[in-house]
Symmetry: D2
Amino acid sequence: MNSIDKLAELFQKFPGIGKRQARRFVYFLLHKDNIYIQKLINEIANIKKEINQCKECYRFYPENGKSLCPICIQDTGIKQLMIVEKDADLENVHKTNLYEGKYFVLGGFIASHDKKKSYARTEQLLDKIKRDIENKELDEVIFGLSISPEAEHTRMRLYNMIHENYPDLIFSTLGRGLSSGTELEYSDIETLKYALESRITQNKKQNI
Amino acid sequence: MNSIDKLAELFQKFPGIGKRQARRFVYFLLHKDNIYIQKLINEIANIKKEINQCKECYRFYPENGKSLCPICIQDTGIKQLMIVEKDADLENVHKTNLYEGKYFVLGGFIASHDKKKSYARTEQLLDKIKRDIENKELDEVIFGLSISPEAEHTRMRLYNMIHENYPDLIFSTLGRGLSSGTELEYSDIETLKYALESRITQNKKQNI
Amino acid sequence: MNSIDKLAELFQKFPGIGKRQARRFVYFLLHKDNIYIQKLINEIANIKKEINQCKECYRFYPENGKSLCPICIQDTGIKQLMIVEKDADLENVHKTNLYEGKYFVLGGFIASHDKKKSYARTEQLLDKIKRDIENKELDEVIFGLSISPEAEHTRMRLYNMIHENYPDLIFSTLGRGLSSGTELEYSDIETLKYALESRITQNKKQNI
Amino acid sequence: MNSIDKLAELFQKFPGIGKRQARRFVYFLLHKDNIYIQKLINEIANIKKEINQCKECYRFYPENGKSLCPICIQDTGIKQLMIVEKDADLENVHKTNLYEGKYFVLGGFIASHDKKKSYARTEQLLDKIKRDIENKELDEVIFGLSISPEAEHTRMRLYNMIHENYPDLIFSTLGRGLSSGTELEYSDIETLKYALESRITQNKKQNI
C-alpha cells in the first residue's frame, strides 16, 4: 500500500469522513505547498505537546504551566458545577459568558444497556463532588446535557448515585421549552409541557 | 388545455406542491377507482359546507348547530387567552390536554415591513380582549407563537397595542429552553440563556 | 370523524403525502375561496369523464371522439414501438419530439419475486406486438425503461417472451453512458463501460 | 491563538470542512493515542516525499525510482490519450480496467470568463500531443471530462486549439446516455437525445 492509500486510511478514522472524502483530503494535501504541510504537521504534533487535559474537569486546554485549566483555577465564588458530555458542549456554553460556575466533562453517556461500553468518568465525577463538598465549594450540580434518551438515562443514574449522600446538595437541569427556530406546529408534547409550565411573564416580575 | 393540465395547474397551488408532483397527483387520480374519486369530491365539497370558522377564536371546526366552537363554548373557569398563528398550532397544543384556557387564531404575523400585507386579525383580537375583560373572563394573555423574528415582532407589536389599556392584564410567553432532541453543542446563545435562567430544580421545590 | 379528518385521510393516499402535509392541504382548502374549490371539484370529476385510456397503448389522453390516442392514430411511417413503464415516462420522451414511433405503457415492472404482484400489462403487450407484426407495422421494439434492477429484469423477461416468435424483429435499448450532470469521479463501472464503448467521434463520421 | 485554534484553522482549508467539523477533528485528535498521531504526521510528511507528479501525464504516483508513472511507462500499443480533469477521475476510470491508453490530467477547466483563473495545463497538453504525434504514438484524443457547462466549454476550446494542426488525429468524447439509476421520467432532453441516437441493438450485431 502506497502513501496515498495509507494516508487516506488514516483520514477515514476522522469523524464523519468516508472513503471518498478521505481520498479527497489526500489529493488536497498533494496540491498544497510545503509551507502549509509543515504547519499542519507541526500543529498536529503541538496539540499533543501543548494541550493538557485538566485534572479537575477533564477538559482540554493549552498548557500554561499550571496543573489546572483557567476555568477551574479562577475563583468566581459561584458554587455551581455543570456536568457536560464533551468539550464542544463546554465551549459552546462558556463562550456565552452566561455561566460563572465550574464544569465537569463526563466524556460520554452511561449506556442503558450494560453491554455498551461507557466512556463516562463516573468515578472521577463522584470524587470531585466529594472533594468540592468537603471544601464547601459546591451548592448546586447542574446537568448540562443534551436532550436525548441517552442523556436522560445518564442524568437519572448520576442523580441516583449522588443525591442520597448529599441531602443539602441542589440538583438542577437546564430549562426546557421552545428553542430558537421552533415551530409550534411541530413541537412535541414534552417540549410543549415545559413551555407551558415555565411561561415567562412579560410585565410583572421578570422581563424579556 | 386539457383536463390533465387544468387539474395539474390547480394542484400546483397546494402548499409545497410543484409542477412534477402536481402531475403525479393527476396520474394518481386517473388510476384510482370511481369510489375514491367520488369520496374525494364529496369531502372537498363538505369541508366548505360542514366546517365553520368560529366567530370568537377564528379556528375552523365542524358545524354543530352552535355559533361558537367547542373550545370557546366550554366554561373551564381558566381565564387565559392563548394567541396562536394558525389552526395547526392550536391543534398541536390542544391535543396535549395541557392547556385549559381559550385560543385566538391570529391568521398571520404582523410584518416588520409595511409593504408586506399582513393577514393578522389584529382588530378582531383587540375587540375580543376588550369584550373578555369587560366580562371579567380574562386574566392572562399568552403568546403561543413559534420562535422566529417575525413572531417576535408580532408579539412586540401586539403587546404594545394592548397592555397600556389594561394595566392589570398579565402577558406571558411560552417558556424558552432546550427542546426535545437539542444538542447542547449547537444551541445558540439565546436558547442557552433561557435554559440557564429557567433551570429546573430536581429535588427541592419543583420535581421533573 | 369530522370532515377535516376525513378529507385529510383521503389526501394521505396521494403519492408522497404524509399525515402532516395532508392536514396542511385541508387547511389550505379551508382558506380558499369557493371559486377555486368549485374548479377543483369540477376538474377532478372531469378527468374521469374526459380522460380516456387508449386501447392500443394504454396511455391517458383527453377524450376526443376517437377510440385511439393521437399518437397511436397518427401514421408517421416509423415502425418502432417503445415500451415505457408509465405515462410520465412517455410524456417526457414525447415532448422532446425526438421519437416518431409508437409507445406502449406497460403499467409496472415484472417483479423478480413471484410473490410481488405485477401491474405489467404483459398480455396486452404480446397481443399488440402480434397485431402490429401481422399488419407489417413493426420492425423494432425499443425498451424505454429507466435504469434499475427491476427494469432490467422486466426487459429480460419481455425479451425472452417475445423474440423467439419473431426472428426478424429488432430489439433495442436506450443508449447508456454519461448523463447530464454526471461527474466522472463518481460514475460506476457499468456507466463507464458503456461510455467508453459508445464514444462519439467528433471530427470523422458523426458530429456532436 | 492556542494550538487547538491554530489546528482547527488549518483543517478549515480541507475541502468541504467548515468551522464546526474542523474543531471536531481537533478534539478527535486530542482523544487519539500517540501512535495514531505519529502515524498521521509521518504519512502527511511522506506523501510529499514519496509521491511524485508524473512529468508526462501530471498524475500523482508513488515514487519508484522512475521519472514516469507506471501508466505512462507501460507500452500497451493502444495509441489513445484520455484527457481528464483530475486524479480522482483518472483513478475511477483506471480501476475499471476497461481502458488501456494513456491519460493526461488537465488540472482544472478552462473558464468561460477570462477573469476566472484557470488551472488547466493547456501548454503542457499541447506539447505532449505534439510529442506523441511526432513519435507516432497517438491516433485518438478522448475527452474524459464530466458533463457540465464548464467541461463542455473546456472541451470545445481544447478541440479548437488542437485539431487544425493535426487533420488525421481523431477526437472523441465519452458516450452519453442513460446512466445507472436514471429515471426516464426525469431525464433531460439532451440525455434522451443521446440515449435514442445511440440505441443498443440486442439481437443483431451488438449484444448487451
